[in-house]
């Protein structure tokens, strides 16, 4: 499987429209709301069946909140999260609580920290079998058989299923988390920073496993990450977030080779490259990420943007499609020529 920008031809599995999540800031004795943290502010994107979309951005940009709203781990303030379920389209954001459980078998999550996301008092059999138990699938023997299959699938030895998580290394624990996420045959897997807590030599094993499982089971991934090298490796399309908004979405190679948003350009340039011969002139962004409780007017990025003009300070840019499947929210997207990451000859 190589780069796939065939997203529009495949059927859409998840369609997120105008998603918002505002957290109220309360003060005083009466807990009066004095403002809102706009963690996710009008986010729109889609996911086609079998593809991988990465949400990237710095801490506090709202990527994790977005992924949680999609699973309805937290209720969004506004917007739609449309999931197609056997030809039927359901809005996860508003569906009745009674339907949620069956919907959640379609969408599962892989967590960042393989140490705190597994209960130390449960054996592998209990951990991986728990989703089956909760959803009332099969009897004890059938569940055990399923756990054996799942452990094999993620490259763990089924003989170990009576052991506890402490007996496993970080990489193995992440495999357990993946097995648990796959127990109910989900179609959408949301992976929130699945390799960032792992050692470098183990990261590659888990990334390979995720790619392999996707091919075998036809999974759709929403991959949340901050490490652009990892994102480049795993995704077919990338959405870059900055202070609650998606500023650019494009097929992976295109985004890395010719970014259209100044923030994407700065982000790409900031990544240290593992080659001392490429000590390039980096774009060092000045200042800090804007506060989502007190966002600047106009484009949120304008105080740090070296290309900002008067219009950027006043009006918020609308999303436009500058190339097929390449969406940018920048007033100057078509006039700027920005620097991407050159492919090294090696």
């Amino acid at each position: 499987m190589t780069n796939g920008n065939a997203g529009s031809e495949k059927s859409v599995l998840l369609d997120v429209k105008g998603l918002k999540k505002y957290f109220p800031i309360r003060r005083g004795l009466l807990q009066k709301t004095i403002g809102y943290v706009k963690a996710v502010d009008d986010v729109t994107f889609f996911l086609s069946r079998g593809e991988t979309l990465s949400l990237v951005g710095e801490s506090g940009c709202g990527k994790t909140t977005t992924s949680r709203c999609i699973l309805r781990a937290i209720a969004p303030t506004a917007g739609q999260v449309l999931l197609s379920d056997n030809g039927e389209v359901l809005d996860v954001a508003t569906v009745a609580k009674s339907r949620l459980r069956s919907l959640r078998s379609q969408m599962q999550m892989i967590f960042q920290d393989p140490f705190s996301s597994l209960n130390p008092r449960m054996t592998l059999l209990d951990i991986v079998g728990e989703p089956l138990l909760v959803h009332g699938e099969g009897n004890a023997q059938e569940r055990t058989d399923r756990v054996v299959d799942l452990l094999r699938l993620v490259g763990l030895r089924p003989e170990y299923m009576r052991r506890y998580p402490h007996a496993f290394s970080g990489g193995q624990r992440q495999r357990i988390g993946i097995a648990r996420a796959l127990a109910l045959n989900p179609r959408l897997v949301v992976a929130d920073e699945p390799v960032s807590a792992l050692d470098v030599s183990v990261q590659a094993q888990i990334l390979n496993l995720l790619l392999e499982l996707q091919e075998r089971l036809g999974l759709t991934y929403l991959f949340v990450a901050h490490d652009l090298s990892v994102v480049k490796h795993i995704s077919e399309r990338v959405a870059v977030m900055y202070v609650g908004k998606i500023v650019e979405t494009a097929p992976t190679e295109e985004l890395f080779a010719s970014p259209k948003h100044p923030y994407t350009e700065a982000l790409l340039s900031a990544v240290p490259k593992p080659d001392p011969r490429l000590r390039s002139e980096r774009i060092i962004l000045q200042g800090e990420v804007a506060d989502p409780a007190n966002t600047p007017p106009g484009c949120h990025f304008h105080p740090r943007c070296k290309y900002a003009k008067a219009v950027c300070r006043e009006t918020s840019p609308a999303q436009e499609e500058v190339a097929p499947n390449h969406f940018v929210s920048c007033h100057r997207a078509t006039e700027l020529s920005l620097r991407g990451v050159a492919r090294s000859s090696a």
Partner: protein, 333 residues
């Protein structure tokens, strides 16, 4: 490495072990390397390789039940005399004047390394007063200057704030200001940017480079991020399970690695300029638990060039494998 200048810090055959009820962990098991004035030495390795314990050993702040078992850490002082830090008592006056004075330290987690109940200024002024015979007012003035020199805006206001009032990037800058306040000749930076976002990381690395140019101080940069060392270091030491497996110039290590571990590590990292969605070469297995330390070469169970009967019985020595570089592998011995 260079022979023309004398090393500022010379670590020889350092062994630091932790003695616990469950057994003894050899956190650092015979590490040797040099840090040269004005240069950056990158110490690279994954978790458990002993890179942080090496830094703690140099500063003599190894936590109980750990202690230095063997080895020398020779610091060349400002007056060209030499001091073996291992021989000093961990709480002696001399090591306390070196720690924070001649050798500055930046920790990984700026949130937990600052006290939350004292202002940043109080902690900064404390460091200045400890190492200089000056008054409180003068110390405060120097503190503000130090904050300004690391690019903190409005330092005269920030000095009275608490660490939780600062953002991650500013907090790390304040940490650097504390470390630099006494003009160290060697700065040990233990994962200085790991907790930061990439754009903030770029700011901090840029700051460290500028400060190094201005002051000509040596930096010992400890990190697991190969991208960061490639950008920053002059020389690199690669560690695995407490041992130095390879050392050399940054360009040699990245473009002509000798040790199978270095080779495999470099191949296994996804790079921002590589082709997406192809299988990455991996290192099989995972880092062994310190109690299950393999016999012979510690890397042999995961090594692609493993020679049975040799790698699993004998320990390879760190020997020269070319101009200014060393590797500890039987492939070259």
């Amino acid at each position: 490495m260079q022979n023309d200048t004398k090393p500022l810090l010379s670590v020889r055959n350092l062994r630091t072990s932790f003695f616990q009820d469950e057994g003894t962990t050899k956190a650092v098991d015979g590490a040797s390397f040099d840090v040269f004035p004005g240069k950056t030495l990158g110490i690279v390795g994954e978790s458990g390789c002993g890179k942080s314990v090496t830094a703690q050993s140099i500063l003599r702040i190894v936590d109980h039940p750990g202690r230095i078992v063997e080895g020398e850490i020779i610091l060349t002082r400002a007056d060209a005399s030499q001091t073996d830090l291992v021989k000093l008592k961990a709480n002696s006056r001399e090591i306390r004047s070196i720690r924070g004075g001649e050798i500055g330290l930046i920790f990984q987690e700026p949130m937990t390394s600052f006290s939350p109940v004292h202002t940043v200024g109080a902690q900064l002024i404390e460091a200045v007063l400890l190492h200089n015979a000056i008054g409180r007012q003068e110390a405060r003035r120097r503190g503000i200057e130090a904050l300004r020199s690391v690019g903190i805006p409005k330092p005269e206001r920030r000095i009275d704030e608490y660490s939780f009032e600062l953002s991650g990037g500013l907090r790390q800058r304040a940490m650097i200001a504390v470390a630099l306040s006494c003009d160290p000749r060697l700065l040990i930076a233990d994962e200085p940017t790991t907790a930061l976002d990439v754009t903030t990381q770029a700011q901090i690395l840029d700051l460290l480079r500028k400060i190094q140019q201005q002051r000509g101080m040596a930096i010992m940069l400890i990190t697991h991020n190969l991208g960061v060392v490639a950008e920053m270091a002059d020389d690199i030491v690669v560690m695995y399970l407490g041992r130095v497996v390879e050392q050399g110039k940054v360009d040699d290590i990245f473009h002509d690695p000798k040790h199978p571990y270095t080779k495999a590590l470099l191949q296994s990292i996804p790079s921002i300029d590589s082709v997406p969605r192809v299988r990455l070469p991996t290192i099989s297995g995972s880092i062994p638990h310190p109690f299950n330390r393999p016999t012979g070469c510690p890397f042999h169970p995961r090594c692609a060039s493993f020679t049975p009967g040799r790698c699993d019985t004998e320990e390879p020595l760190l020997l020269a494998v070319g101009e200014g570089r060393k590797a500890s592998c039987f492939l070259y011995q």
